[in-house]
Structures are given as C-alpha cells and as structure tokens.
C-alpha cells in the first residue's frame, strides 16, 4: 500500500534522480534563456513550480473525471492538457505582472513560454501512470510529482545561474561566450546528476 516512504521516493525520484532538465532534458528553453541571472532564475523556478503543481492536479482530475469516463482520453489527452496549462500560465502572467513588474520584465518572453514548455506537459503525462489506482491516491501522487518536478527544475536553474554568473566574468573565447558555454556546462551538470541513479 502507499506508505509515506513511497511518496518520498516518488518525490526524490522526480526531483533528483530523473530531474526534468538534467536527466530527461525537458524544459531547456527557459533553462538556458532565464539562467543568466540568479534573481530571474529563481522567479522563473517558482512560477514553474506553481504551474506544474496546479497543472498536475487539474489535468489529472480532468483526465480521470471527464476524459476517461467519456472514453476520450486518448483523443483529447494532449489538447485538453495544453488548454489547462495555457490558462494557468495566463493566470500566472497576470499575477506576476501585478505583483512584481521588474520580475515580469526580467522574465520577458519566457513567462508565456512555460505554456509550450515540454517540462510541464511532460510531468502531466508522467502523472498518467497513476490513472489505474484510486482517484484520491492518484491525485496526491500527481501533486507530489508536480511539486517535486518543479523543485528539481528550480534546483537545476539555481545551480546553472550561479555557474553562468561566474562564467560571464571569465575571459572565454568570443565564440563560446553566452549560450555555447552554457550548453557545455549543462552537459557537465547532467553528467554530475547521473550520480543519483544509484538511489532510484
């Protein structure tokens, strides 16, 4: 049965072992685009956690309660999920613009890009593994996977932005400055995260 340790293992797995950015290579667009400064990386990370968590819960509920009974789950899966995620992102955009205009400006185009971010859609698809159990358990596991995935994403972004802020000051060859060295660093970071596989 689902003990606490099962939930913890799920959380740990999606946050570190199968980190969305560094192990599954989802969501590279905001990862590379927003990690130039730690302040915007943290802001984006929290926005993603929020969207991922809510999207996980909402999409799982709609899947189990609307799509499965109607037999439409295979057909409308992606479409409906995107609809939900897009609405959530619009909502988050409005809130951020109101609450913190500097963060809104700093994130710029990358905030609405959470919608097409494969990491969010990816997590919602991963949640479908729980569709065969009870609704309550499945919903809880989806929520944990959403929050865990988001936190893992945030962690990767903070690590990356810290490294990129340092890289900015170094005398690199002109061709490598900016995005090229960021990709090389991401690869090294991904290799480092492979160290977690033993804990799966």
């Amino acid at each position: 049965m689902d003990t606490f340790i099962e939930y913890f293992r799920l959380f740990f797995s999606v946050a570190l072992v199968s980190n969305l950015v560094l192990a599954k290579f989802l969501g590279l667009c905001p990862f590379i685009g927003v990690t130039k400064k730690t302040s915007s990386a943290v802001g984006m990370g929290f926005a993603v956690i929020f969207v991922m968590a809510l999207a996980s819960v909402a999409t799982f509920a709609i899947y189990k309660l609307v799509l499965m009974p109607l037999g439409l789950e295979k057909a409308l899966n992606i479409v409906v999920f995107i609809l939900v995620i897009a609405s959530l992102v619009q909502f988050v955009e409005m809130v951020v613009q109101k609450v913190s205009p500097p963060l809104y400006r700093a994130l710029g185009i990358y905030l609405p890009l959470i919608t097409t971010n494969c990491a969010v859609l990816g997590v919602t698809q991963l949640n479908l593994a729980f569709r065969d159990g009870s609704f309550g358990a499945g919903l809880l596991k989806s929520a944990i996977q959403g929050v865990g995935g988001g936190l893992g994403f945030l962690l990767a972004m903070i690590l990356m932005s810290g490294m990129r802020e340092r890289l900015d000051t170094l005398p690199l060859p002109k061709a490598m400055k900016g995005v090229p060295i960021a990709f090389v660093t991401t690869a090294c970071l991904a290799l480092a995260f492979l160290g977690f596989t033993g804990m799966a």
Binding site: L65, L70, L72, L76, V80, V84, S87, M94, V95, K98
Partner: protein
C-alpha cells in the same frame, strides 16, 4: 467519488449505441468547447481583478530606440527612457545613439515637436603619443588606464595626459575608438554616437562631447606651466598665448596654463591653428574631408586621424 458520467448518461448511451466517428468528434468538440469556456470565464474574471494599467505608448517608444542600453540619455537603459518619456514627460531627443531619427519617431508617438538635436562626436584632447610624450617610469602592472593613473600619478611625465592603455577602447559600446599604433586612441567619428561612455571611462577626463559642426579643438589638457610641459611632451600647450593674439574674435584664452576656446565666440576660422608653435590646436575639417573622400572611394578609412 465524483463523476460527471451520470448527467451525460444520455450522451454516453447515444455514443455507445452508435459508436460512429462523428459521434466521437462531436463529443470531443463539446468537451473541449465546454472546458475552454469555463477557463475563459475564469481568466476573464482574473484579468479584471489583476488588471495592470500600462500605457501602450511605452512599447511604441521602446521600439523607436536602438536598444543598446548605453545610458547616454542619463537613465538606466532603453526601457527606462521609454517609460520616462511617456510617464514622466522627459524630452524626446535625449537618445544620442538614436539621433534625430529616433527623436522624430518618439515625437510622432507622443504627438509633440521633435526639437533641436544636433549631432555630437567625442574628441580626445591630447596628442601625447608614445613618441611625443615622455615616460618617467617603467610601469608594470594592470593594463588599465584607471589603475595606472593611481600609481604615483601615472607613468607619463605629464600627469594630465593620455596613458594609452585602452580603457576607453574597452568602454565604447559601438566600437568607435581604436588604439593607434602610436599609443594614442583614435575616435572613428562615423561610428561615434556621443553616448559618453568614454568620457566616464578616462581617468584623466580627456574626452569631451562636442557638436560635429565645431572643427577647431585644443588638443591638450595640461595645466603645467610652459617649461614643465615642454620637458614632459613635444606637443603640449606651453601657454605662450600665440593663439590668443592671433584670434580676431576674442574666442581663445590661456587659462591656468592651458588654451581654452570660447565656443560661443569661435567661428572655426583656424587662425589659432596656424599660429600655434606646438601644433596642438587641431582643425578637424581637413581630417573629415579626407575621411569622406576615402570613404567615397570605397576604401576602409578607420583609424587614421592626423589632426593637423
């Protein structure tokens, strides 16, 4: 356990009864449409609650600016200036790199007159190249003019002159300053936007932003008395006042051992240029004509400024 199946029973029965593709499609459209409507209403309500008043003109003004974030306007960057123009009523012609073109566009957005904006360029007021200005010490250290200037007053015998280590070259965001082979930086006037970064970067404050229509400039900044200047540099102002005597418009005077041009009175006639025995007053007309000619003949005219 909640399920929406019961209310839709009739629909389901219909679907099971006739499992036609049309049925599935119709059902899909219905479901997505309903969901879309629900979310749409939620977002509509949210947009009213979280409304943020933004003036669309800020975006338009921002579009008219070059986006270099150089700070010449006096604000932190192009977005800040755009906001300043629209929300705080700043002048529309403060953007030097944008120039007259940007000023006109911004004026059109704001519905005002563009106002006067003449082109300015940066001028280096020193001719102390490695060959002409003496070094009094062998400086070994950080290759930055600001750092070198802090070491016992700098490696040059003249404590007012150019150190030639290239801090201004680094500072220019438009690549308009190049280091000459003689150890003096040269301003490529075609690329200069008078943003003022070089003025801030030079620890000796040798750069000045002058209107392009001015062609006569005193190219020395030394306030040392004549004998000390002559000992330190071949092309330094020795305060002999020959320029003062030659000027028919009372536009040039020696103040604090240095010739200074009164811009209001100067007519760019060049009499002082010819009178100066040290050849430190430059007439930029000749140089600009030569540059224009060689640009016309489609050769690269960078870096050669013989201001004499």
């Amino acid at each position: 356990m909640i399920s929406l199946a019961p209310p839709l029973m009739p629909v389901l029965a219909a679907a099971d009864a006739a499992p036609s593709p049309v049925g599935t499609v119709a059902l899909s459209i219905l479901v997505v449409g309903l969901l879309g409507a629900v979310f749409g209403i939620i977002l509509f309500v949210a947009s009213k609650k979280f409304a943020v008043k933004t003036d669309p003109r800020v975006e338009e003004v921002l579009g008219a600016l070059p986006g270099a974030n150089c700070g010449a306007c006096g604000l932190a960057g192009c977005p800040a200036y755009a906001e300043g123009v629209v929300l705080k009523g700043l002048a529309v012609n403060l953007c030097a790199p944008g120039g007259a073109k940007a000023a006109k566009m911004i004026a059109a957005v704001m519905g005002v007159e563009p106002g006067e904006s003449e082109r300015r360029v940066s001028v280096l007021r020193c001719r102390g190249s490695r060959a002409r200005a003496k070094e009094r010490m062998e400086y070994r250290g950080v290759a930055d003019c600001r750092a070198a200037a802090l070491v016992l007053g700098g490696p040059k015998a003249c404590t007012y002159g150019c150190l030639g280590l290239g801090t201004c070259v680094e500072a220019c965001p438009f690549g308009a300053i190049v280091m000459g082979a003689d150890g003096l930086p040269h301003v490529l006037e075609a690329r200069c936007t008078a943003c003022g970064r070089c003025v801030d970067a030079c620890p000796r404050h040798l750069y000045v932003l002058a209107p392009e229509k001015r062609t006569v400039h005193v190219l020395c900044s030394s306030r040392d008395p004549g004998r000390a200047t002559r000992a330190a540099c071949e092309v330094g102002c020795i305060a002999c006042k020959a320029c003062e005597r030659a000027c028919k418009f009372d536009a040039i005077h020696v103040v604090d051992n240095l010739a200074v041009i009164d811009e209001e009175k100067c007519k760019n006639c060049g009499a002082c240029v010819r009178a100066c025995p040290q050849a430190i007053i430059g007439d930029f007309r000749k140089m600009r004509k030569a540059l224009a000619a060689s640009a016309r003949s489609a050769t690269n005219a960078g870096g050669e400024a013989a201001a004499s």
